[in-house]
């Protein structure tokens, strides 16, 4: 294909997008809707992942010890736990320190709650605080520690606790969001593809006579196909660009709002747009164009058989 032929195909593709008016608008809109939802989900999942990464470093296991555990046994236990490959850090929290921490955590209202408890009648047991490398291994590590108890005749471990439920729900929620997002996006992308296929079909029907004349004067299928290819890519590309504009402006507003609102800003920090715009924009554009080309290919194939 020489350059002037390529220009001709480009011109025909553009012309066709305008000629089909509302059909083109419908296809572009469907592309926008599906890509917008995809974009929102990607940003959501990305932010949630960021949050869970943060939560990971805060997740720890508390191993409470029996009252009568000797120092040597405690140290032995400590070294056994720190040898596990999943464990990153282990610290000993004597019961007095535990009480102090508890007081701090409960804050002003809690002071009264713990009134009357002092070092001599401290109800808390001594504890080992275990941190793991990967938050998802917490339940597994906790089980392993519990199993250690049976290896000692003294049964030194009173209880193993971790913020299990919180973590598990967090993981379940992110997984759920991800799965729903994927299904929704796939369905919408399919819909967009069909709408584009339909738009191109209208173009082809309107130009059937033109196509038959082209074939009579010796046009190859490739020559006939190109303008439709370009039309599909244009529909997808325009849809993607509009989506990117809407998504980025909207997200920027959200980041601003979250930062300026004090109560939200301290709780959640959103990933700044500058960190994602390049790959997210690129991804949406490529997807849009691909859906467009796919749609056009589907509808041309049948028409070129003769």
């Amino acid at each position: 294909m020489n350059f002037s032929t390529f220009l001709r195909h480009l011109r025909e593709g553009f012309r066709s997008v305008f000629r089909n008016g509302w059909m083109s608008v419908a296809s572009i809109t469907s592309i926008i809707v599906s890509l917008l939802i995809l974009g929102v989900f990607i940003l959501l999942v990305y932010n949630v992942n960021q949050l869970t990464d943060k939560a990971d470093s805060q997740v720890e296991i508390n191993v409470f010890l029996e009252l009568n555990v000797s120092q040597s046994l405690r140290e032995q236990l400590q070294s056994e736990i720190s040898k596990m490959p999943e464990v990153s850090n282990i610290t000993y929290i004597p019961k007095n320190e535990g009480l102090k921490e508890l007081r701090q955590n409960l804050g002003e209202g809690g002071e009264n709650f713990l009134e009357g408890y002092a070092e001599n009648n401290n109800p808390l047991p001594d504890a080992l605080r275990v941190q793991v490398v990967e938050a998802s291994t917490v339940p597994f590590v906790a089980q392993k520690i519990e199993a250690l108890n049976n290896e000692h005749v003294e049964k030194p471990i009173l209880k193993v606790r971790y913020g299990g439920e919180t973590i598990e729900t967090l993981f379940k929620v992110t997984d759920l969001i991800r799965n729903i997002g994927l299904v929704l996006v796939a369905a919408l992308a399919l819909m967009a593809m069909f709408l584009i296929a339909n738009t191109i079909r209208v173009t082809i029907l309107a130009r059937r006579r033109e196509i038959s004349i082209m074939k009579l004067v010796g046009a190859t299928n490739q020559f006939i196909r190109w303008p439709f290819f370009i039309e599909g890519a244009l529909l997808g590309g325009i849809g993607a660009l509009v989506t990117i504009a809407i998504l980025f402006v909207g997200y920027q507003q959200l980041v601003h709002a979250a930062q300026s609102s004090l109560s939200l800003g301290t709780l959640i920090t959103l990933v700044p747009l500058q960190k994602v715009w390049l790959w997210l924009g690129g991804l949406l554009l490529v997807l849009g164009v691909l859906i467009g080309i796919w749609g056009s290919t589907v509808s041309i194939r049948r028409f070129l058989k003769v």
């Binding site: 294909m1 020489n2 002037s4 032929t5 001709r8 006579r209 033109e210 004349i213 082209m214 074939k215 009579l216 004067v217 010796g218 046009a219 190859t220 299928n221 020559f223």
Partner: protein, 228 residues
């Protein structure tokens, strides 16, 4: 240059359009194809530019074996054949000039050459002054001249014309025939299906008469031979 050997064509609905047609047409011949409606003339024409495929038999056009021609090679065959129809088949949204240039765009001719060649054929058909008119603003005869210009613009070796004067009055028809004669004189083979008795009888050329899917007459400088 065009040769058929025992060609049969049966359509999917069971109609036997051609039944054992054998014929040979040499370079630079001018051939009329005559016969009653539905006798197989159109099928005979369509087989030559591979609009239809023979059910049985051999067809060779310009060295292409049409029975074995692959789908994607068909464009190559057609670039060497110009086709002209009763209903002109011009593109209504393009000007006369653009309609002719279209045939050159399709074969990806260089721009420079395109302009020169289109003006050349417009001159040959005598319509340079109407190059920028749309088909709507041209008479039937003028539209057919543009269609013929489009058919010859890529210098095909054969022109296949299916009732090119079918929609035209006698005077205009003779103009078109003079044009086709001129093109034939310049070295292009012309095969023309027609119902026009006056033309066939006054401009004597080879006549093939088809009836019931068979060639019943093949006459050099023949006559029309039917009363309608």
């Amino acid at each position: 240059m065009i040769e058929m050997q025992d060609v049969w064509k049966t359509y999917a609905n069971g109609a036997h359009a051609l039944q054992g047609v054998s014929v040979k047409i040499d370079r630079n011949e001018f051939v009329y194809v005559v016969g009653p409606s539905g006798a197989g003339k159109s099928t005979f024409m369509k087989l030559m530019y591979r609009e239809e495929k023979p059910t049985k038999g051999q067809i060779s056009v310009n060295g292409f074996n049409l029975g074995k021609l692959k789908q994607r090679k068909i464009p190559l065959l057609r670039r060497n054949i110009g086709v002209v129809f009763q209903d002109f088949r011009l593109l209504p949204k393009l000007t006369a000039y653009e309609n002719i240039a279209f045939a050159m765009e399709v074969i990806e001719a260089p721009r420079k050459q395109m302009k020169k060649r289109v003006m050349e054929v417009l001159e040959l058909v005598g319509l340079q002054s109407k190059a920028n008119r749309y088909p709507d603003h041209l008479s039937g005869g003028e539209q057919q001249r543009i269609a013929i210009a489009r058919a010859i613009v890529n210098n095909p070796s054969v022109i296949i014309a299916d009732e090119p004067t079918g929609n035209l009055d006698p005077e205009t028809s003779f103009g078109i025939m003079q044009l086709l004669d001129e093109i034939n004189f310049r070295g292009t083979t012309i095969i023309m299906a027609t119902h026009n008795k006056d033309i066939v009888n006054s401009m004597r050329r080879r006549v093939l008469a088809i009836e019931n899917g068979q060639i019943v007459r093949d006459q050099i400088r023949g006559e029309y031979g039917y009363e309608f």
